[in-house]
Symmetry: D2
Subunit: 174 residues, 4 copies
């Protein structure tokens, strides 16, 4: 009934294709799960790209198991490839053009790992004036995005500092 | 954790510009409010176009006051014109192209009243193979859409029969 | 180098699925071909939905054979299903959400025949403030769209009167 | 009438905001103009983001003055901010989500200069499997995108080598 009705939405963006046999990919997946859990525990809605793959799946699983709401903005026209941990699915049938919606619907954007889709989301977030917190970006991505928009981009050390950064950015916006 | 995690989403589409001084427009707004209430009571998520205007506003208010979740898919890049009864806002910055997302994200589409935007949503729903239930469409819209897709379109008498039709369509899909 | 660089774009929208065995469908296809020809002869760019099917294909063929430029705004991510008569293809990967782009990129919108996609384009055109000229709409569509927006919709008798109506609308806009 | 009807489209993506008082920005604008000219001379259609600003404007001016066709895919709903050197305007009303269309409609993507929008287009191009040629990307962008997709990304020394790279990529695709 008031502006407080509107829930805070935190987007977690990351690669769909990760290799559980790789130690660095496992670290990304573990962080995604923990991020999902923490976001749910804070009472925020988790937004992901919705698919049952990689960072999307693990973040969604974490939030779901912590009792949170998971909003999945799918590139597809239907929910065939939707994560089973998504609570509200928004099929867009727009392919990667939906990446811009992921950004606009997130109060703060977190990237977890890095890939072409994730890079597009970081860039679109900067373009849209959003704050981006990067976890496990890799050195070259961190260097590039920090140079591109130092004021909007933070590289986080771990999940705990990511959550602290989200809170500080939400206070700035609030 | 299972497919039951995914919530049922019912889209209510209708004009943003209605005149409270007109008896027929007041009837549409009253139905929108009641539809929102019933959808929330059934445990479904209400999807609207998100703006604080007309059918979107009244349906959102109804669902909000009945304790439901309201998903607002906005044509805008931000939430400046978002209804205060929306719980989760998805700004798309896509203008009327977002109408197709409204359709794809709804398990069943209800139109309440009629206008150019509403007509585009009814047509896009038919194109996408969705079921459309029309409340207060007017004679010429009812005749046109029934002729276009008799198998997908039903004209409802009132809110109660609309909810009954939604249930029958959900069972068909389920 | 001046504003006159910008070419006039006329959109022709119509069903992709038509049956050459049906006399009324053949009439629609014949009109689409003639419309494409006339649009090219006037020096206008023809815009279609780009696919090698129905009204899109025949209008494109007409314009191509008359030496015109055909702009195909495809719902797909690639040109696999693109008409071979398209000169410039714009794959959007947006499905039916691309219908709104068809409308916005057209100075005047012509519908030829009627279907769910065509109806969505007529409605989106009205919503966007565009003029719509309808050829072979059928009685119920004509009645509905004329009631919806009498000032923006004209039903044309034939291709010749369609072209005359396009010219009068271009002069109003010009 | 055959597949040869379809014109080759080369996208040139770059910042809209550049400072003519900066020597490095002037170099980017000069390259954009020369790229537009060369693309037109090769008989290719130039695709840009359509606006009368920065790289979009200069590339369009170059192609226009060399007699070429310029396709402007605008983020806006109308042509108010369209470059006067655009021949065919496609207003999308989709904001930055139109960046994905820029990519899908280009046979080869050239970036000239670098910014958040340009970075999103490079990333979306990689995601879509397109070849990207980067002119004046800056060191950190070059390092990042080459690491992200070495097989799809080339950094060009100048306009002449950019055109040579475009030709080699078109032959690979053809």
């Amino acid at each position: 009934m008031t502006a407080t009705t509107l829930k805070t939405v935190i987007g977690v963006m990351g690669p769909g294709k990760l290799d559980p046999a790789s130690a660095s990919d496992r670290e990304i997946l573990t962080s995604a799960y923990a991020l999902g859990q923490e976001i749910a525990r804070e009472g925020w809605v988790l937004l992901t790209g919705g698919r049952a793959a990689g960072v999307m799946e693990e973040a969604s699983r974490g939030a779901n198991e912590a009792g949170g709401i998971v909003l999945g903005i799918l590139p597809d026209a239907d929910t065939v490839n939707c994560s089973s941990f998504v609570s509200i699915a928004v099929p867009t049938a727009m392919g990667s053009a939906r990446n811009n919606i992921n950004i606009l619907a997130s109060h703060v954007v977190v990237t977890c790992g890095m890939g072409a889709g994730t890079a597009s989301e970081a860039a679109l977030a900067i373009k849209a004036g959003k704050n981006v917190i990067m976890l496990h970006p890799g050195d070259s991505a961190a260097a590039f995005f920090l140079e591109l928009a130092a004021g909007q981009v933070k590289v986080a050390e771990n999940v705990t500092s990511t959550v602290a950064l989200i809170k500080s950015k939400l206070n700035l916006n609030g």
